[in-house]
C-alpha cells in the first residue's frame, strides 16, 4: 500500500476553548491570553509581516474578546474564533490604511499561473540551506495577496480544515479550495524565481 506523505491532522495546540466562561469576564480574557495569546500573536505576525503591527493587532483582538466574551460558544474552537476576529480587524485596518501594511501583489497583477501544467517536479527549494530558505520563503509569502497568504497560513502552517478556514475567512469552501490551489502554485513559482535569481548572482 502506498504510504506517501500526508499532512497530519492533529498537531500543535489542542483546539479547545479555555475553561467554560466563568462569571468573571476579566478572568476569561486572562485565561484566553495565557492559552492562546502566543498562537494568536504568531498568526497575526505571519499575516502582517512585522512585530509591531502583529502586537497591535493581537492586543486589539483580545480587547474584542473581552467585549464580546458572551458571544463565544463553549464547545467551539476558541482559536478559530480569535483568528476570525484577527482576520476581520486586519481587513478593517487594511481598508483604513489602504494596503500600507506592506507591499503586495494584487491578484489581478499576479504572475500568470501554470495554465493546467504542473510546476517543475524537481523542487529547487530542496537545495536551499535552512536560513536561506527561510528568507526566500518569507519574502515570497509576503508577495502573495492577503487572502492567498492567509489561506496558506491556515491550511499549511496551522493545519485547519477547509471548512474551518472558510469559517475564519468568511467565504465558501470552494473559494478556500481554489485560493489554496492558486496560492500554492504562485508561491512555488515565486520561490523558483528567487532560486534562479540567487543562482545568477
Amino acid at each position: 500500500m502506498f504510504s506517501g506523505p500526508r499532512i497530519r491532522l492533529t498537531v500543535g495546540e489542542p483546539r479547545k476553548p479555555p475553561e467554560p466562561p466563568s462569571a468573571d469576564q476579566t478572568a476569561f480574557v486572562e485565561r484566553a491570553i495565557e492559552q492562546y495569546g502566543k498562537a494568536t500573536y504568531n498568526y497575526a505576525y505571519r499575516l502582517v509581516g512585522n512585530e509591531q503591527d502583529a502586537r497591535d493587532l493581537t492586543q486589539e483582538a483580545f480587547i474584542r474578546v473581552y467585549r464580546a466574551w458572551r458571544s463565544f460558544q463553549p464547545g467551539t474552537s476558541f482559536l478559530s474564533w480569535v483568528y476570525r476576529i484577527v482576520t476581520n480587524l486586519y481587513r478593517d485596518e487594511l481598508r483604513r490604511r489602504k494596503g500600507r501594511f506592506q507591499e503586495e501583489i494584487p491578484e489581478d497583477n499576479a504572475p500568470q499561473e501554470f495554465g493546467g501544467q504542473r510546476p517543475l517536479a524537481v523542487d529547487p527549494i530542496e537545495e536551499y540551506v535552512d536560513r536561506q530558505l527561510s528568507e526566500q520563503l518569507s519574502r515570497s509569502l509576503r508577495k502573495l495577496s492577503t487572502d492567498q497568504r492567509q489561506v496558506i497560513i491556515l491550511a499549511d502552517i496551522e493545519e485547519y480544515s477547509y471548512q474551518e478556514i472558510a469559517d475564519i475567512m468568511g467565504c465558501s469552501i470552494g473559494t478556500v479550495r481554489s485560493r489554496l490551489h492558486r496560492a500554492r502554485a504562485l508561491l512555488r513559482r515565486l520561490l523558483q524565481q528567487e532560486y534562479e535569481r540567487s543562482q545568477s548572482r
Binding site: 506517501g4 506523505p5 500526508r6 500573536y41 483580545f62 527561510s134 496558506i152 499549511d156
Partner: protein, 166 residues
C-alpha cells in the same frame, strides 16, 4: 494513463477529498511513480513552509498581557453596556416583583378617588333603588302594578291596569 492534477494532489494532501475520490487517488498513486513523486514535492513544500514558520515563531512580547489588562481596566462601560448588564433574570425578576408589589399596595393610597360618590354609604344606593323601582310603572315593585294585581281581569291584568292608570 491520465496523471493527477496538482489541485487533486493538494486536496489529497489536506485530506479534503471525498472518500471515494480519496480511494481512487490512493490506488493511482500506488501504480504511478510520476504522480507519487509529484505528491512528494507538494508534501515537501508543505513541510518546508511549516519548518520555516516554526523557526520564526515568536514569544509574546514582554508586558503583553498586562498592557491588555490595563487597557481593559481603563475602559469605562457605556450607558447601554451598563444597562445591558442589568438585563439578567437574577436582577430583573426581583426588580419587577418589587415594582408590582409597590403598585398594588400604594395605588389606593396614592391614587385619588375616581368620583365623589365613591365615599357615599351603601345604604344610600339601596334606598335610592327602592324609590326609583316604585316610580317605574313597569318595574317589579311598581305601586301601580301591585294595586292592579288585586283586580279581577282574566288574562291581562297588568296591561289593563297600565291603561287605566294613564
Amino acid at each position: 494513463m491520465q496523471h493527477l492534477t496538482s489541485d487533486i494532489l493538494i486536496d489529497y494532501l489536506h485530506h479534503e477529498l471525498a472518500p471515494a475520490d480519496d480511494a481512487r487517488v490512493l490506488a493511482h498513486l500506488e501504480s504511478c511513480a510520476s504522480c507519487a513523486r509529484e505528491l512528494n514535492v507538494e508534501a515537501t513544500f508543505t513541510d518546508r513552509l511549516r519548518a520555516v514558520a516554526r523557526a520564526q515563531e515568536l514569544d509574546l512580547p514582554l508586558g503583553f498581557q498586562s498592557a491588555i489588562m490595563a487597557r481593559i481596566a481603563s475602559e469605562k462601560p457605556g450607558v447601554w453596556q451598563s444597562l445591558g448588564r442589568l438585563w439578567r433574570p437574577v436582577v430583573i425578576v426581583p426588580f419587577a416583583a418589587a415594582v408590582a408589589a409597590g403598585a398594588f399596595f400604594l395605588a389606593p393610597v396614592l391614587a385619588p378617588p375616581s368620583s365623589p360618590s365613591a365615599a357615599l354609604p351603601v345604604s344610600y344606593y339601596l334606598q335610592e333603588h327602592d324609590v326609583r323601582a316604585q316610580e317605574n310603572p313597569l318595574g317589579d315593585r311598581s305601586a301601580v302594578i301591585l294595586s292592579s294585581l288585586n283586580t279581577e281581569n282574566d288574562g291581562v291584568p297588568v296591561m289593563q291596569a297600565v291603561n287605566a292608570s294613564r
